[in-house]
Symmetry: C2
Subunit: 418 residues, 2 copies
Amino acid sequence: MSKQPTEIKSMSSFKRLANGSVTTPRGFRAAGVTAGFKRSGAPDFAMLVSDVPANFAGAFTSCTFAAAPVQVCRKRVLFCDTIRAAVINSGNANACTGDTGISNAEATCVLAANKLGINSNEVVVSSTGRIGTQLPMDTVKKGIELAVASLSEEGGELAAQAIMTTDTVPKSIAVELELDGVVCSIGAMTKGAGMIDPSLKVPHATMLCYITTDVKISNALLSDMIEENVAQSFNRITIDGDMSTNDTVIAMANGLSGVEIRPDTPQAATFREALLAVMQQLAREMVMDGEGVTKFVHVEVFNARSTEDAKLCAESVANSLLCKTAWFGGDPNWGRVVAALGYSGAKFKPEKVDVFYDGVPVVREGGDAGTPESDLVDIVRKREFTVSVDLHDGDESYWVWTNDISYEYVKINADYHT
Amino acid sequence: MSKQPTEIKSMSSFKRLANGSVTTPRGFRAAGVTAGFKRSGAPDFAMLVSDVPANFAGAFTSCTFAAAPVQVCRKRVLFCDTIRAAVINSGNANACTGDTGISNAEATCVLAANKLGINSNEVVVSSTGRIGTQLPMDTVKKGIELAVASLSEEGGELAAQAIMTTDTVPKSIAVELELDGVVCSIGAMTKGAGMIDPSLKVPHATMLCYITTDVKISNALLSDMIEENVAQSFNRITIDGDMSTNDTVIAMANGLSGVEIRPDTPQAATFREALLAVMQQLAREMVMDGEGVTKFVHVEVFNARSTEDAKLCAESVANSLLCKTAWFGGDPNWGRVVAALGYSGAKFKPEKVDVFYDGVPVVREGGDAGTPESDLVDIVRKREFTVSVDLHDGDESYWVWTNDISYEYVKINADYHT
């Protein structure tokens, strides 16, 4: 275990604001209302608006059945310079809904734009929930009316609540950073829980993440940073190995702090790090709020022949049902870890493999390292621990964040009907 | 849904014998005894012996961490013309046990050979159970003594019981077939349950399968048939997507019927089909006896651009935790099926995709086919049903057999310590 596989940014390097949200940066208002998509009557419609046109960047699911709103967002990224608003409903995914679905997603933008007095090309749209049912447009209309009426600079938390599906807690964050003597901020909200194995191409469960900032930054540079950071955050988490039709990350930068981020400057480096800290913190929170999750497991693989080999190993362990159920049971069963490495398809020499739990040797040279089982049980019964694999077969590394699979996971997903 | 993706042999074409087992073919004796590998005191040691040297073929796990007994079996396949005996313990996998593990596996063969008065190169060995613990050789010795003393032509059922781990029922079978006017037979036993996603290269969960026959057939021809049939049986089943370190299929042909099977003859075709029927029936029984299984699901994909695309689609659906939990819940949630197709990595046009449950349209051209949900619920609440996907994008097809994931699955695997 020689080196850190890749950068993991601790929030402690940045000032996280109490009650920070997407409305923390200057010039952003938001709302979360109950439009009626969910039978439960819980908030299910959110709106996020910038007072001025905002530069933006997006990352989307790589699922072949990309949902209608994802297709609309991709068009905005390709053809528009700025956006002003985002409209998000939970309870209906508007996925596998054909041309009608696309029309409904576009119509949602038009309806919101009309109410806000902006152009429909300045609106992006996201949906999350059950696949295959057309969006009830009356409900969309009601949501837009209620949301526009309640937009406020304190609305970030409500918006974060309204985008939840099986999430148990809303996930909002904001950090402050000083750039060129000016205090700027980055706010974000996310929802996740099930169907999480993002493979976001710039343009990945349904995870939705909306990021706001008041710095000025070009679409190209923002897009580069989002792409690079998604690879180090949302694309490193796997809850159930299922990827959604609707995964979306949208970042909006409205420049109202007056601070401009130019490429290859110390300011750009600082901003990117703060953005990564925000995205990694939300990614962690998504894993811990995964359906039925009781444990957070960091899986890291070192000294592989290639990054791809390291990734195959890390993802094979993180997605192994047998490892996940053993973790749920607090069982240190390392045989399941080596079995998952063995069928991963990665190239390595089994007789060289070491495995550690929180740094304690478990496997040495492919066999039992001799640590008393009781010591290992103490580790895997913790709420959070690290499984490290040293392949001793090269220089490349990879890490992922995952969790256990519980009775509750099965219950939630056997019973889910919206 | 134009054509059958690949041949599926019904047992009804062949005469399945009541109480048939590995000792049904002439000249095979077997035993199943309690040596003490399992704390429970259940039978845990089996032996299978041919009265005369038998030609043989093997197929083994493709896991990089192949267990010691698998490594020994591979050597036999490479270097030996015939074998006489197989020794199998359950409760200890002898995997990830290094050089000591190999020595212990070889020593097991020597001990058995000495008691049987044969050469140790004529003995193959299999182990299943917990990974990473050295074989207790005193227990092996005791098992060999007890087993040799109780070998009998009625011992097939007892052997099938002794190789079980989390299996709930022993899985034995035998079929009769008349070749050249002589009644010959094929017997087999298998164990499976967890860690099932075989990728047997000729030389896959710990699934173990031992096949016996009294026809005469060359190692080369038997190996070809095993390879071809494994691809159409054990490699088509997936219970939890985990593959074991110990998966083994061994076929033994002792020729005592006097009937010889030569390549490219009608007899060879008939024998291969009977062998396939046996292997497919055992594969089905393994899926139904999978840990916590309540449902058997046949997933078939038609009209893909390539077999690989069809396979990616079928395996993605069959391994999707969200599909498996929906099936457990009796939820027709086709959104999860299309999501799994979408992230499979297969190339196809989403707007052309049709999906059927037991032939009833569920998805047409990528969207809701309009069948009332109640009709679909009736299908997915059955103990056995078929999910068919027509990609309308080529001519290739693939199928797999899988099952649901229940509370019981999580319980068994969170609590398993042998």
